[in-house]
Structure formats: C-alpha cells, structure tokens
C-alpha cells in the first residue's frame, strides 16, 4: 500500500479516486444441490446429517466466508464424499437453509433435525419428519438466521429419533443447501 492513500478493506482508489465495492452479493454464499442425506445406515441422536457436493455448486470451495469441513473430519457418518459441517470464517450474520429429502420411514418412525454449532448451541428452530406406511419421500427444511463469531463451525444434527430411522441410500435431486453471509 502506498503512503497517504485511504483504502477500504485494503482496496485502493482507482485513478478517479473511486474505491470499488469489496463485497459482491453472492461472494459469501454457498449454494448447492445435494445428493444424499445419509449413507444408508440407521442414525443416532447426535449424528450429523450428511450432504454431498457434486451437483451445481456455486463457489463453495473458496469463499471468503464459508469453508466446508473436509469429509470425514467431524462427521460420524462420513464417507469420502460427504460433508457434515461448515466453518463460517467471518464474524457476522448468516442465513442457512437446507432441504433434506428422505423417505421410506414407517409410520412409527420420526426424527428431528436442528442447526447447531460445535458446542451444541441451537442456531434455529427444529425440523420434524414423520414417516408413513407408504413409501412417500418428503423433504424437511432446516433453517437459521444467526450471528456467529469468526471461525464457528456449524452442522445439522439429529436431535430426536423415534424408531430406527433407516436412512435411504439415494434421494437425489430433491435437496439443497444455501449458506449466505449477509453482513457483520
């Protein structure tokens, strides 16, 4: 940086003296269609809901604001392609929205999901899914709008289970994830 120049977030003025915006609307956004919810196993309270990124993903790899936790690093149901948590690198408010499509649960089975940080603090309401005697596949939406300090890791957790809740192996196309930084 030159001396005697005012900068904004380290960005210098151009020759006309203008400092360009340093935050684009989607710079802080992770958007992805997702493939699987879980890996075909039964789940337990405290497990993370899994998301796989292999479809139509917008800039999740290197956003300034969100970092996917390496597969298997903290996910009980990890496999090589799954992600179960994300580190929000910059302090501020975030919007989290994800849809998990599941199905084939019996009428005696149900579960709750909730967005939480690593310490177990809730970052939004719970989401419920109740099964049926049919093989319907429904989706349940997990959301949160919350403030976090820098480098907070969040995940979607099974917080309540009734029955075995065997997760289907393949529920493609019906799920998605969005994590958007909306300001400090």
């Amino acid at each position: 940086m030159s001396h005697n120049i005012i900068t904004v977030n380290s960005a210098e003025p151009d020759r006309a003296g203008n400092i360009a915006s340093t935050f684009e609307a989607y710079e802080g956004c992770v958007v992805s269609s997702v493939d699987h919810v879980s890996s075909g196993n039964s789940v337990s309270v405290g497990d993370y809901a899994m998301i796989i990124f292999d479809l139509y993903c917008l800039a999740y790899e290197n956003t300034t604001y969100v970092q996917e936790i390496a597969a298997g690093a903290s996910s009980p149901k990890s496999n090589s392609n799954y992600s179960g948590s994300w580190t929000l690198k910059v302090a501020g408010y975030y919007w989290f929205e994800s849809v998990f499509c599941v199905g084939n649960l019996s009428i005696s089975e149900e579960f709750d999901l909730q967005l939480r940080d690593a310490a177990g603090n809730s970052l939004g309401p719970k989401s419920i899914y109740r099964g049926s005697n049919n093989t319907y596949r429904l989706s349940t939406t997990v959301t949160g709008l919350f403030y976090v300090p820098a480098n907070t890791t969040v995940h979607v957790e099974f917080t309540r289970l009734v029955g075995t809740c065997l997760m289907p192996v393949t529920q493609q196309w019906f799920s998605y994830l969005e994590i958007r930084y909306i300001g400090g």
Binding site: M1, H3, N4, I5, I6, T7, V8, N9, S10, T22, F23, G92, Y93, W95, E97, V99, L105, I107, D112, Q114, S122, L123, G124, P125, K126, S127, I128, Y129, R130, G131, S132, N133, N134, Y136, L138, S139, T140, T141, T143, G144, L145, F146, Y147, Y181, I182, G183, G184
Partner: protein
C-alpha cells in the same frame, strides 16, 4: 470522530489508512427450538383469521431501535423500508388429510403464505413461507390462519409450535 478524518459509517482509518468496512445486516430472528406450551400464548384456535404465535426467550432484533420483546407473539412491527420475511411452523393434527395455510398480513392485505400438511400419514416441517414488503411507514405485520383443516386444539399442541416455529426478517434496502 476527529476533525479532518475520513470515516465510513463511523469507521475511521487505521494507522495505515485502511478503513475496515463490514456489511450492515439488519435482521430479526425469532424462534430457536425451545419448548414452551402453546396454551401459554394468546392463541384462541385455528379458524380462518385466528392469529398464529411464535416463541423465543432470547430473540435478535437489529432492525428496530427498541428490539421486539420476547415470549409468544403473533405480530411484529418494522420501520419504513424493504424487507424479506421468511417463516416456518409445525402443528399437531387430528387425522389424515390435515393442513394449514398460514398467511402474513399487513392489515387486511395478504403478503405471503406457507403450506404445511401431510401425505398419507407422512408429514414434515418442509415449508418455508416467504414475503417481501415495501413499507413507507412503521407497520405491524401479523401471522394468521389463512385456511386449515384437522389441526388439533391449542391445549393439545403442547410444545410443538415453539420447537418448530420461527420467523426471520432481513432488511434489504
């Protein structure tokens, strides 16, 4: 602020001359999965026009100069501006075929809806209502039943509405 100092939103330059500027998010987040009985609210039922209540004991409001109070509430006020509002909810039912369409009302004007219901016994909190409002003055918005069938009584809701209900507001201009 010192005289002759450039600042952006009251943020002054550091010694190197750099001004650190963050976003200016203004939000309301109401509902965090807590457990409180729905009959502690002022809800009267689930007929068309009945108000729908949300619960939070520690909400966030950076929009209003005086943050909205906690507890059970069916409405909230916003100052002039443009906002996106999202909400979600879940209620106990009395049988197959149940459903509820909740509406967000500005006076008598419907600004958005959200459908929840079941398919052959299966149900989930899958719906997310959304509305955009452009307010010229401070305005109160209220959640009400737009239409519903086979929703259980207020007394029989238990803590379900507080666990799964929430609304979110983001100021966009």
């Amino acid at each position: 602020m010192s005289h002759n100092t450039i600042a952006i939103n009251s943020a002054e330059p550091d010694r190197a001359g750099d001004i650190s500027v963050g976003g200016l998010a203004k939000i309301i987040a109401y509902g965090r999965g807590e457990s409180d009985a729905y009959n502690n609210s002022s809800a009267v039922g689930f007929s068309v026009g009945d108000e729908i209540y949300f619960y939070d004991s520690s909400s966030t409001d950076t929009i209003n100069s005086t943050p909205i109070s906690n507890g059970w509430r069916s409405s909230f006020s916003l100052p002039a501006g443009k906002y996106i509002i999202k909400w979600r909810l879940h209620f106990e039912d009395t049988g197959s075929g149940w459903y509820m369409v909740s509406g967000l009302y500005e006076g008598t004007n419907l600004r958005g809806t959200c459908y929840i219901g079941e398919t052959s016994g299966a149900s989930s909190s899958n719906a997310l209502g959304q509305a955009f409002v452009n307010l010229s003055t401070t305005t109160t918005l209220t959640f009400k039943v737009h239409s519903a069938s086979l929703i259980d009584s207020v007394a029989n809701q238990g803590t379900t509405p507080s666990q799964y209900g929430a609304f979110f507001v983001v100021e966009v201009a």
